[in-house]
Amino acid sequence: MPVTVRIPTPIRQYTEQLSEVALEGKTVGEVLEQFKARFPDAGGRFFSAASKASRFVNLYLNDEDIRFLKDLDTPVSDRDTLSIILAIAGGSE
């Protein structure tokens, strides 16, 4: 059950320049574990030991911030898209 993970430009230097990657998992947290395993250099920079997302990176499952869902416990399914979005692009004015 692969989930597409979208990677913003400034992080691609740590992800072999990939803009997206398909990863397995039943929850957002599990997908992120896979992401860290695949790209340890990227994951280590914005996930703490508890695998919580950093303040500077927000995670969106499809169109929704996971903090409005069940955070890392949010279930994911086939064809979902998990987007890593830099917090600097947050908000609108």
């Binding site: 913003p8 230097q13 500077f56 969106y60 911030d65 004015e93």
Partner: protein, 422 residues
């Protein structure tokens, strides 16, 4: 470049040259411009500033540009209005309004950040200016780009009401409607900025853009004869303005031009108050919310720099409060009736919060207070329209008028007093 040392990550401290980098490569934290204050202090004094034109560039040594300003020569240096009637109505003896509702040319505080961002964008070689916005920011970006003849793209979510983009559309930018929500638009913009080398003022130019907001703080201090107000009340949306006014005050202290400290207070609409919620809960983490308020210009549920707002408020001994939609409208009305200033709902929010802080005893009646009015009510008339019932339709006969005037009774000849409605 000038007095700029470079960029520094606000979180991990990593340093970068002042170029196109806009987030830290190590931790993805935001970057802050650093200056050589000793050198600035040697080459600039309060007297030389006083002799300069009255626009935001009079503090250019403290802004991140190399050469001459490209735009904004009529922006900034907005009035600091001594608000006597309003002060009397809400129990403040020394109240001032920093009135960016008349900031040239598009009537909001955004002229400050956009003037700096576009000037720096040209220095960095960008030939296309863009932003993600539907409101004040887009208006300002489109206007400044038009007068410079720059290619300009304004990205908005598809569902935005057409009326909201008129104030940008008149300047003829390319308006790109994206199928999706704001986050989709923002994500796309950060990708476009990287791949097409376009200058998105509030994304990849953000380290420079936010510095422009300092000019509001410089002006407040200068207009008070180089004194900081005891209290400064600012609206909080994405978290750009408040930390930068705080930085401006600190820089003036560092330069030895002012003394003391201003307590900085944050104002949010009750229908979108993620920063105030964290403040009141004693937390540093900000949980995003779904905005539901008439104060559209400050309805940001996921503030990029919200935690820096918390830092500044806590460090200066300030506080923060929220205002409900009816409280916001009451304060818009009170401001208009007492001082002749028509603010957008963000301005009603800061004034309503000021009144709460006075009621709570956090601001004493004899202390100096500055309330920021960041946008113009003429752009947001729909919010206040239902409350305005003070017109009468008559025929053109004098008799008709006299008959109506007689019905007003004694109240018609009394001086107008401010209601100070709660």
């Amino acid at each position: 470049m000038g007095f700029v040392i470079g960029l520094r990550c606000k979180e991990c401290g990593e340093r970068y040259a002042a170029g196109r980098q806009f987030v830290c490569s190590s931790c993805f934290g935001p970057l802050e411009v650093e200056y050589d204050y000793a050198a600035i202090g040697r080459s600039l004094g309060r007297e030389s500033i006083a002799a300069r034109p009255r626009n935001l560039w009079r503090y250019r040594e403290l802004l991140p540009i190399e050469g001459d300003p490209a735009t904004g020569r009529h922006s900034g240096f907005t009035p600091l209005v001594r608000a006597r009637r309003l002060g009397e109505a809400i129990g403040l003896a020394e109240l001032y309004l920093k009135d960016d509702s008349v900031n040239h040319p598009t009537l909001s505080y955004k002229e400050r950040v956009v003037s700096v961002a576009i000037t720096r964008a040209l220095e960095l070689g960008f030939d296309t200016i863009a932003c993600a916005s539907t409101g004040n920011l887009a208006n300002s970006v489109a206007a400044h780009s038009a007068r410079l003849g720059l290619r300009c793209f304004v990205f908005v979510p598809d569902a935005v009401e057409p009326a909201k983009i008129v104030g940008s559309g008149v300047y003829r930018p390319r308006i790109v409607r994206i199928r999706g929500n704001y986050d989709d638009v923002n994500r796309l913009c950060s990708e476009i900025g990287s791949q097409y080398s376009w200058g998105f003022v509030n994304v990849n130019l953000r380290p420079y853009y936010t510095e422009g907001a300092k000019t509001m703080g410089f002006e407040i201090a200068e207009q008070l004869d180089w004194r900081l107000p005891r209290h400064t009340i600012l609206p909080t949306a994405g978290g750009t303005l408040l930390p930068k006014v705080c930085k401006a005050y600190q820089e003036l202290v560092e330069l030895g031009w002012v003394e003391g400290e201003s307590r900085i207070h944050a104002a949010q609409a009750a229908g979108c108050a993620p920063v105030i919620a964290a403040l009141h809960a004693g937390k540093t983490e900000i949980r995003p919310v779904k905005p539901a308020t008439i104060a559209h210009s400050i309805a940001i549920g996921n503030p990029a720099d919200g935690r820096y707002v918390l830092d500044c408020v806590r460090r200066t001994g300030g506080w923060g409060e929220t205002a409900t939609d009816p409280e916001i409208l009451d304060s818009i009305q009170l401001l208009a009736e007492s001082e002749g200033i028509f603010a957008e709902p963000a301005g009603g929010t800061t004034l309503a919060v000021c009144r709460k802080l006075v009621a709570q005893g956090r601001i004493r009646g004899d202390e100096s207070v500055v309330v920021a009015i960041t946008g113009n009510g003429y752009k947001a008339t729909e919010a206040i329209l239902p409350r305005l019932d003070r017109s009468i339709q008559l025929s053109s006969s004098l008799a008709d008028f006299e008959h109506w005037y007689a019905t007003l009774g004694a109240s018609a000849s009394e001086p107008v007093s401010v209601q100070g409605a709660s």
